[in-house]
C-alpha cells in the first residue's frame, strides 16, 4: 500500500498572530513557521502503518512557496520516503490545493491520502473533503483512530455528539484529528538523512492548474478587544460580582 501525505507550512501554533496595519493580512515576516499540527499526526500515522508492514511507500507533498520544502523535509525526517513540492505564489485556496492533489493522485496512484483535518492559519477545514469529491473516493474526516483491515479502513471520527465509526474502502482520504496519535520528533541523524531523500519540485502550472483565488480577501482586521477585567480576592466576592454586577447567575 502506498500513502500520500499532504502537509502545509503555517505560522507556528505558539505565535501570537498580529494583523498588518494596512489591513492586507497578518504579519509573516520574521515569524516562526512550522508544519500544520494535525498534518504532523497524518505523517505519524502513515509512518506507523509503514512500520507495521502495511505500507510500502510514503510520499509527502506540499503546495506552497519555495520555503515550504522545509515542511516536506520534516516529513522525510520522520519517515516519509520521498517528497514533492508544488510551487505556487500567494494565497492558494483549498479547492485549488485539492485540484493539484488530484493531479498528483492520478500520477502517483496512492491507496490512501492522509492530511490534517484543518490548517490552523485559514481554519478552512476543506481540502480533504474536496479531494475526496474530485476523486469520488470515500472520505473519513476528523479521524482519531484508524484500523486497517485489508482493503477496508475502520475509522473512528470525532463528531459533535461524541464518536462515530465508519468503514471506507481503499482508496480513501483520511483527515486527521490531533488525537489520532502522538507525533514523534525527528532525530538529528534522521534530519541529516532526510536531506538526501528525493524531493521533486513542480509548479501548479506544470500540472495545468489555475490557482487564482476565487474568494477575494478584502481586508483583515483585529477582532474587537475585550475590556480588561478585574481580579477578585475571594470566592465570595466572585459569586457576589456574578450575581449583582454581571447578573449572570
Amino acid at each position: 500500500m502506498k500513502i500520500l501525505v499532504a502537509v502545509k507550512r503555517v505560522i507556528d501554533y505558539n505565535v501570537q498572530v498580529r494583523v498588518k496595519e494596512d489591513g492586507s493580512g497578518v504579519v509573516t515576516e520574521n515569524v516562526k513557521m512550522s508544519s500544520n499540527p494535525p498534518d504532523d499526526n497524518a505523517v505519524e500515522e502513515a509512518v506507523k502503518i509503514k512500520e507495521a508492514g502495511k505500507a510500502t511507500e510514503i510520499v509527502a507533498i506540499t503546495v506552497g512557496e519555495e520555503k515550504s520544502q522545509e515542511t516536506v523535509r520534516k516529513a522525510l525526517a520522520v519517515g516519509a520516503d520521498r517528497g514533492i513540492l508544488i510551487k505556487t505564489e500567494g494565497t492558494v485556496e483549498p479547492l485549488a490545493v485539492a485540484k493539484v492533489l488530484q493531479k498528483i493522485v492520478d500520477k502517483e496512484k496512492p491507496d490512501l491520502v492522509f492530511m490534517g483535518k484543518q490548517a490552523i492559519d485559514d481554519d478552512c477545514n476543506q481540502t480533504g473533503q474536496m479531494l475526496s469529491a474530485l476523486l469520488n473516493w470515500p472520505q473519513a474526516t476528523f479521524a482519531s483512530k484508524i484500523e486497517i483491515k485489508d482493503k477496508v479502513l475502520e475509522v473512528t471520527r470525532e463528531i459533535d455528539e461524541g464518536l462515530e465509526t465508519i468503514e471506507v474502502n481503499v482508496p480513501a482520504i483520511v483527515t486527521c484529528d490531533l488525537r489520532l496519535n502522538e507525533p514523534r520528533y525527528a532525530s538529528l541523524p534522521n534530519i541529516m538523512k532526510a536531506k538526501k531523500k528525493p524531493l521533486e519540485i513542480l509548479t501548479a502550472s506544470d500540472l495545468g492548474i489555475d490557482t487564482t483565488p476565487r474568494v477575494q480577501q478584502i481586508k483583515v482586521e483585529e477582532p474587537p478587544k475585550r475590556k480588561a477585567g478585574i481580579k477578585v480576592a475571594s470566592v465570595a466576592e466572585l459569586v457576589s460580582k456574578l450575581k449583582n454586577e454581571a447578573k449572570v447567575i
Binding site: I11, Y13, Q16, V17, V19, V26, P94, L95, A96, Q118, D121, D123, N125, Q126, T127, Q129, M130, S132, A133, P138, Q139, T141, F142, R157, E158, I159, D160, E161, G162, T165, I166, V168, N169, L178, R179, R214, V215, Q216, Q217, I218, K219, V220, E222, P223, R226, G229, I230, K231, V232, S234, V235, A236, L238, V239, K241, L242, K243, A246, V248, I249
Partner: protein
C-alpha cells in the same frame, strides 16, 4: 436569488444549529428553502415547515440517508442546487464534513465559518484561531457557505406553513459504510447552546476531579467544557473540547477552571459574554480575557464556590 439550507437533524428532530443557520441564510436572502435528507423523518419536515423563515422544504428519503454520510448527501445537494445561488449549512462537524464535498462538485471555493453576512457575496470570518477577522468576497456564481452557529440567533420555530416538496433520492455511495455512533447521553444543556459553561483544564489533574466541575455545573444548569489538554490526558471525552479544533461556545457565563488559556483554547470561548478564570498561576494568559479572575487553588476554590452558590436564594436557569 434563493438560498438552499441543508438541515442537520437526527431523523426525529431538527438539531439546534440548523436554527442558527436558517437565520444566517435568511440574512443572505429571505427566500430560504430547506433541504431535508434523511430516513423516516416526516416529523422533521413538518417542524421545518412551521418555521417562519422557511419558504419551502425539499424532502428526500432513503435508507442510505439514515446516517448523514457526506458521500450520500453531496450528490443530492448538487442535483438540487441548480436553482439556488447559495448553499448554506452550519460550521459544526456536520457541515464541515459535508459542505466541501458539495463545493468541490460545484467547482466553488467555499467560504467557511462565517460570523457575519455583510452582503450576499461578502462575509466576515475569523482566521488564525480568531486572532484576525477577514472580510472576504466570493466571485463564484454559486456560493457554498458554512456559518458559525454561535454568531447567529436561532430562528423562530413557529409562525410558518411552508410547502413540503418530496424529491427523488440519489443513488447510494457503496464504498463508505456507517458502523456506529457513540453518543454520550446527558441531561445537561448542549455545550454549543448552553447559557453557562464550566470548563476544566489540565489543572484538574485527573478525571475524578471533574466531579468538582460537575457539581457546580449542576447548580448552574451549565454544560461542561474542557481544554484540549484535559481531553488529550483522558480526563474527559472529546465532545467537551472547547477551542480552535473543538467547539466554539458563546455562553453568557464561561467559567475556566485550571485552564492556562492557550491561543487555541481562547479561540473557542473568548466571545463569551462574561468570562471567569480560576487559576493558581496569576500569570496565566486566561486572565487576560477574564472579566473576573480569581487567583486560587481550584481544589479549595471550587468547594467554596459550591458553598456560596448554595447560599443564594435563587439562581438563574
Amino acid at each position: 436569488m434563493s438560498v438552499l439550507l441543508i438541515a442537520e437533524h437526527n431523523n426525529k428532530e431538527v438539531r439546534p444549529f440548523t436554527l442558527n443557520a436558517i437565520t444566517a441564510a435568511s440574512q443572505i436572502d429571505p427566500d430560504v428553502h430547506v433541504l431535508l435528507i434523511g430516513n423516516n423523518c416526516e416529523n422533521v419536515a413538518k417542524s421545518l415547515s412551521e418555521m417562519s423563515a422557511v419558504k419551502k422544504v425539499l424532502h428526500a428519503e432513503a435508507a442510505h440517508y439514515e446516517n448523514y454520510l457526506a458521500e450520500n448527501f453531496a450528490p443530492l445537494v448538487v442535483k438540487v442546487s441548480e436553482n439556488y445561488t447559495h448553499i448554506v449549512s452550519s460550521a459544526n462537524t456536520f457541515g464541515k464534513n459535508l459542505m466541501p464535498r458539495i463545493a468541490a462538485h460545484l467547482d466553488t471555493s467555499q467560504v467557511s465559518d462565517i460570523i457575519k453576512v455583510i452582503s450576499p457575496d461578502t462575509f466576515l470570518r475569523p482566521i488564525y484561531a480568531g486572532n484576525a477577522f477577514a472580510t472576504v468576497k466570493s466571485s463564484d456564481t454559486k456560493k457554498c457557505v458554512t456559518i458559525r452557529p454561535t454568531s447567529f440567533d436561532p430562528c423562530e420555530t413557529s409562525g410558518g406553513s411552508a410547502p413540503i416538496e418530496k424529491i427523488e433520492p440519489t443513488e447510494e455511495f457503496t464504498s463508505s459504510k456507517f458502523i456506529k455512533r457513540e453518543e454520550v447521553k446527558s441531561d445537561r444543556p448542549e455545550l454549543g447552546t448552553a447559557r453557562v459553561v464550566v470548563s476544566g483544564g489540565r489543572g484538574m489533574q485527573n478525571g475524578e476531579n471533574f466531579k468538582l466541575i460537575t457539581d457546580i455545573a449542576d447548580k448552574l444548569n451549565a454544560a461542561i467544557g474542557a481544554s484540549r489538554a484535559a481531553v488529550d490526558a483522558g480526563y474527559i471525552s472529546n465532545e467537551h473540547q472547547v477551542g480552535q479544533t473543538g467547539k466554539v461556545v458563546v455562553p453568557d457565563l464561561y467559567i475556566a477552571v485550571g485552564i492556562s488559556g492557550a491561543i487555541q483554547h481562547l479561540a473557542g470561548m473568548k466571545e463569551s459574554k462574561i468570562i471567569v478564570a480560576i487559576n493558581k498561576d496569576g500569570e496565566a494568559p486566561i486572565f487576560s480575557v477574564a472579566d473576573y479572575g480569581l487567583e486560587a487553588d481550584l481544589f479549595e476554590a471550587l468547594p467554596q464556590f459550591l458553598e456560596e452558590l448554595n447560599k443564594l436564594n435563587s439562581i438563574q436557569k
